[in-house]
Amino acid sequence: MITETVATGTREGGLGLRADGVALGHGGRTVVAGLDLAVRAGEILVIAGPSGCGKSTLLRALAGLLPVTAGRLTAGDAPVTGPSPDRALVFQDDALLPWRTALRNVELPLAIRGVPRRERRAAARDWLGRVGLADAAGRYPRELSGGMRQRVQLARALAGAPRAVLMDEPFGALDAQTRAGMQALLLDVLRAAPATVVFVTHDVDEALALGDRVVVLGAAGVTAQITVPHPRTPVRDPALRDALLRALGAQEREAV
């Protein structure tokens, strides 16, 4: 039963996210300043940029883990003041609790919400099935490959029926083949459970394969924006790829 409610929970549509004049930093060091960005409800927005440009910092701020030093972040109609199960964060690696099995990791958001054991177990099993890991339910993270761990993480993030999923280079540590499989899986899973996705990557092909829109981030905020004409399809568009590479290249030179 709960799988139904969980699924409808996400089907209600994604959460719009906004940054207005946002500055971010840690330890007195400003990473990004004057950032304006609007993420439309239900879209996949890819944030690209050189390392150190503040992609991950922005994602942490959107998740509510890092307060802004200036400006305003809003999720839906409400300002972001802290973490919320509405905005799930998927980390690059090793974010699964190693003392919990895959199944119990996926159960976690439901357990936090107080869903009774039997229901949350069924829902978690369903989610593991959707990411192709029905057989790995009883295994611990250390017994899973990097790709499998990321699939469990995806299932865990989505099991809580978040309205926005923030993904911080989630496939960055995987080999090319696994990575392509994961991208397809992500799009597949999102079709059944739509949510707003903010996806950070520095891989141009990944950005174009997943994004409805790609923005390039620099120290002064968004420096370029590309709308993908045939989003969420494996269509290759060399001209678009060149345009994004140029935008990233300009960013890279500026950063140096």
Partner: protein, 269 residues
Amino acid sequence: MTVVEERTVTVPVRRERPVVRRAVRGLALLGALGVWQVLTAADARVWVRFDRLPGPVEVAREFGRQLGHGPYYADVAQSLVRILTGFGLAAVAGIGLGIALARSRWAQDLLQPLLEVARPIPAIALVPVAILLFPANEQGIVFITFTAAFFPVLVSTRHAVAALPGVWEDAVRTLGGGRWRVLTGVVLPGALPGVFGGLSVGMGVAWICVVSAEMISGDFGVGYRTWQAYTIVDYPGVLVGMITIGVLGRATSGLVELAGRRLLAGRLG
């Protein structure tokens, strides 16, 4: 490369059978007992003097006699109550304060200086303070035991908590978990392997201190009985006490390790 491979092939050939190894170990132990018996029976004086030390046969006979009498068990029970009380309190306080120190700046500023001042003092040196502070001997001994076990647990808990990767806590918070969930769902289970290291060490030190404290100021207990036997020139009784202390120490650390293995099952190999 080939040389290395050849070596790895030859290793299994030289492996001893476990039965043989166990027999060798048993014989080594029996051999030591035999040497002890011979030396004491011959009243050997080879700079170290064996003429007053009781031999293993004498000790075994005394052990048998004591095992048939009530006071032996009363002493064992008394020592166990002391160690379990002191150790239990130390475990609770050490884990609690260790977490607080690792996670709260207030706790750090308030407690750190105090604890740093008290830590270098060996627990057994607190005996005079314990006698002054506590109305009953019993409480003093438990206090000494507590202090002994407290610091290893505290220090290892603090380090284990401080070393936790932040990503686990971030993950739980972004899934909707609050402070309590982070504490019980991430900090405690995450720090558990390190905490058990401290508990093991703490149990060992606690035994040293309970026995010493009993020798100094006890009215009952294995340590008291051992010292008592010495003062009345009952040397076999002293050795029975020593062996009892060893067995109890081994049993209690074994319990701590067993609990650790149970709780950490699945996480380790």
